[in-house]
Amino acid sequence: MTKAAWLALAALCTTSRLPAQGVMVAPKAVFMSSGSGSGSVTLLNPGTDPVEVVVSVFYGYTATDSAGQLRLITIDHPDSTQPSAAAWLQAFPRRLTLGPRDQQVVRLLATPPAGLPDGEYWARLAFTAKAGELPVAGVSDSATIKVGLTLQIQQVIGLHYRNGQVRTGIALSGLEAVRQGDSVIVHARLERQGNAAYLGTVHAAIVGSNGKPAGELRVPITVFFANRPRWAVSIAGAPADQYRLRLDITPQRDDLERQVLLRSPAVSDSVAVQSP
């Protein structure tokens, strides 16, 4: 291949990696404490066009719905019973323009009220960026109807502010497992203990009567109050058998740095898998 061809290929690859505007947000969860009172989020524009970003703060946490699916619950005006940090958390700047391949740090400043009880307080940070805009299409005919839709992207990450002594744990109850086709559907009630959100990992293993594993699932969990999640563990191809589910919950996460994880005992339970 000639040098010119290599250069052309390199340019093509570069273009394909940067298909359109958009910002990278890191980290995907912010942990702050009363010791420092400040934090930061880094925004990076890997694209070739400037991107305007608006930063906002609101209160929210995740919980499961009636189907066991995680949902973000937001409360515009949380009362004093809610551990909200939104009212006393500020982001600077709140509006910025990122040039091509530019990055900027958004600083977070917490000014909690005096006498704030020990515990963890939560907020959500939203970064709203206007992305690619479709040029209005159509021939230049005044009798034509032309349509152009603009894309806007909002990325929302969580913020945990830890004040004083914080502790957490998880209580597991109501474990159920039912075989449905090639999967085992698992339900459990998870109730957070202590005064901070529980961050951990669930490992669900389906074991046959011969002691051999038929399927497993490993999923990160965050429990702010109480959840009743639904998980599907694939046991595709497994023969009919008397299976058991073993569920282990540990305060470990592959996607978070170890120092932000709070210690708590591991929790386990097991139950027979029911036939439908």
Partner: protein, 155 residues
């Protein structure tokens, strides 16, 4: 103002994009394209249309969970404040853990959808279709609207 001064005095944090987990990125690759529209003739774009469906690309850690939700306009605004109805049905959005328009899990763009990133490498795409319904007396001109995709990262 005191708060601003306090922030200015903070030590500059390391400008790393590798804090808690892999950085996440969402791109608006293309919007829904209806092409030429004629008065009185509705026009639909399915989410499986490889050229005209809207597309958002997502990069995040493999196995991570995201909540996807749309803010969708019910009409577009045109010349002299004229509006043109725009609608989205229960199957007008699709999620592909492989970024393939041919391999999507359909979902209702009007309600939140929980997605799990595939991979590695942890790349996914969201596709969107819709229907525009111009009136028989629809004034000619350019009509615009904004589609917002909100991506919530867990934790």
């Amino acid at each position: 103002m005191p708060a601003l001064l306090a922030v200015a005095a903070l030590p500059a944090p390391a400008a790393s994009v590798h804090g808690q987990g892999q950085p996440v990125r969402v791109n608006g690759v293309r919007s829904v394209s209806f092409g030429t529209v004629f008065p009185g003739i509705p026009k639909s774009v399915p989410r499986t249309d490889a050229l005209n469906s809207g597309r958002f690309d997502i990069r995040a850690a493999a196995g991570s969970q995201l909540q996807l939700s749309f803010a969708l306009p019910s009409a577009m605004t045109g010349p002299g404040g004229a509006t043109m109805p725009l609608s989205f049905g229960g199957g007008d959005a699709g999620y592909s853990a492989t970024q393939s328009v041919a391999s999507q899990v359909g979902f209702d763009p009007r309600v939140p959808f929980l997605a799990t990133m595939g991979g590695p490498p942890g790349r996914a795409a969201v596709f969107l279709g819709g229907t525009v319904t111009p009136l028989a007396s629809q004034p000619a001109g350019s009509y615009t609207g904004t589609i917002t995709l909100t991506v919530v990262y867990f934790p």
